[in-house]
Symmetry: C2
Subunit: 316 residues, 2 copies
DNA sequence: AGGCACGTCGCTCATCTGAGCAGTCGGCAT
DNA sequence: ATGCCGACTGCTCAGATGAGCGACGTGCCT
């Protein structure tokens, strides 16, 4: 930002060359001829203009998407897709709507006829489904059992069927709860032909959508639905995030839990095998969970809002 | 400024590539490898980012000089040097001071030991002289006779001597008024050894400084000092600007006047021969005169203020 | 089904560009 | 004067880049 001593002529010369090259796109050789300089001097002056801050390059967008934050997130965490929605709102329901719409747009844009879509259950996923335009005959696979939420309208099954039917693709669903009281029941349920059939499709899933939960009250549907002993047990194991039933510690490493044996849903290895998992986290409290999920390498796409994105980037 | 339809993923991809290339300076080939694209696609996406306005390149400067306007003026009128001082002031005296300082800086920067400096009489030139640091032994030549201004402190002779003495160069001065009552007297004066000697140095002048006057009351020292009949005569001839006694019409063509024969000072041909004439106009009213002077091709350097620069550029 | 129009993609080739290097000049102490 | 130092300049050469082109795929109309 400093500048040694530069007289006005030098300053204006730098500006003229910077204009000619960077804005009008003329070649340095052409400018050199016009100004009677060597092309090397032109190059040095333009470099000096950039270094001294005379030229500023700024990436911004008139619209709902903060492209700069998005790009930085994508770069930092090697994400395939990243969408940061620029909204000042901080009430959870309206964030969910906005992110749902953005995620729907993203999915509509990136999905191809060859993809197989997996959907986990999360309120944001449900919001996305509502904004989604028909996909090109995409088969849709249910990733998790149903979790009944007070006031929630759709179950995981409903969302999967809705998306599949509007897209003209097959819905691979099963009716089972997300968690059951004991491991034996869970094993039995997984043997059910319907469930086994849906799970059999998991390896073919190429894109999936999920939420991210923080293992704290009110920050994870699964937490809120768990027993007090499970909550504490997972805390003790160092669980920080849950990604549709897959538990991660603060560094993104998978945590094996006894609870997982009592759940009907995708497991860590299966999730890892999905080429692109798109997550839709929201709410500033979830920053640590989002970082954990990003570090895990499970997540290939992120749809979130400015405040959370900034927190996630701020230290990581 | 428009943008066809681009989904969020496309938008963010453009932003990521633009960041990588334009800001971090990585090569398109490197980015292509990293993103799994061809270098051609990378180039096209970056072009699209520029065209769609996603990337903005801005040239600005924290300081007294509006480098962008300066560069635009220089480009439009093929000026060697152009300095637009960014000042909100519009009172003539303070403008004069600011421009004088800027012109002094410019002159100090661009003058070399081989230059010969010519100075016309103008209040802005006088202001410049006061801010000028010593030049490298530059000879200084007086271009015009003396014009006595009510309240003006320096004559053309004083300014030339002052600059020359502080620089350690020779002062080529002559004592004669700028205008005399008849052509015969003017001829006689030009024969004077002292005057002839100074005029003999004119062809060696490499850089000169002058003001620009608009042929209207209060916009030209020369106008104000002229007789009513001269004023009207020159109006009739289409005189728009005077550049230290050289008269130009609105398109910058020289206007031959009978008044010129009664003046002791540089003429059009001699002025045209000066490699770089730096003009210091100020005051928004003078815009037409400045355009005329710039179109004439006489002026190679301009020092002015934002408001006038903008007017000059706005249509030309 | 075939043909057409359009858009997209990646190639070739000539040009542009950057990194590093050697020559030149002015300032300065000896 | 003489020789050194640092700043600046323009060169070489290899790598990066852009313009233009044909190939390909897609959707649409006949």
């Amino acid at each position: 930002m400093d500048q040694g001593f530069t007289g006005p002529a030098h300053l204006v010369l730098m500006a003229s060359l910077a204009r000619g090259h960077l804005i009008q796109g003329r070649s340095k050789i052409e400018l050199a001829a016009e100004f009677g300089l060597s092309r090397f001097k032109v190059a040095r002056l333009i470099d000096e203009a950039r270094d001294s801050g005379l030229v500023r390059i700024e990436i911004r967008h008139h619209g709902a998407i903060d492209v700069d934050l998005s790009a930085r997130l994508a770069e930092r965490y090697e994400l395939t897709h990243s969408v940061v929605v620029d909204t000042p709102e901080d009430d959870a329901a309206s964030l969910r709507e906005h992110l749902g719409r953005a995620a729907a747009e993203l999915l509509n844009e990136v999905i191809t006829a060859k993809d197989v879509l997996g959907l986990a259950w999360a309120r944001a996923v449900s919001a996305m489904a509502r904004s989604l335009r028909p996909l090109p005959g995409t088969p849709v696979v249910q990733l998790t059992g149903a979790l009944t939420v007070p006031g929630g309208r759709d179950t995981s099954v409903d969302v999967v069927r809705e998306v599949a039917s509007s897209s003209g693709g097959t819905a691979h669903v099963f009716y089972a709860p997300f968690t059951v009281p004991d491991a034996a029941t869970a094993r039995a349920l997984r043997q059910q032909p319907e469930v086994a059939r849906a799970f059999g499709r998991l390896p073919s899933v190429t894109k999936a959508v999920a939420g991210i939960g923080l293992w704290e009250p009110g920050q994870s549907t699964l937490y809120d639905a768990s027993s007090e002993s499970d909550r504490q047990e997972l805390h003790r194991l160092g669980v920080c995030a849950d990604v549709s039933g897959v538990f991660l510690d603060i560094d993104g490493r998978p945590v094996h839990t006894e609870l997982a044996e009592r759940m009907i849903g995708i497991d860590y290895a299966q999730m890892r095998a999905i080429p692109e998992l798109i997550a839709i986290p929201y709410g500033v409290a979830k920053a640590p969970a989002v970082r954990a999920a990003l570090r895990s390498g499970l997540v290939g796409g992120l749809v979130t809002h400015t405040a959370l994105a900034r927190l996630v980037l701020d230290d990581g």
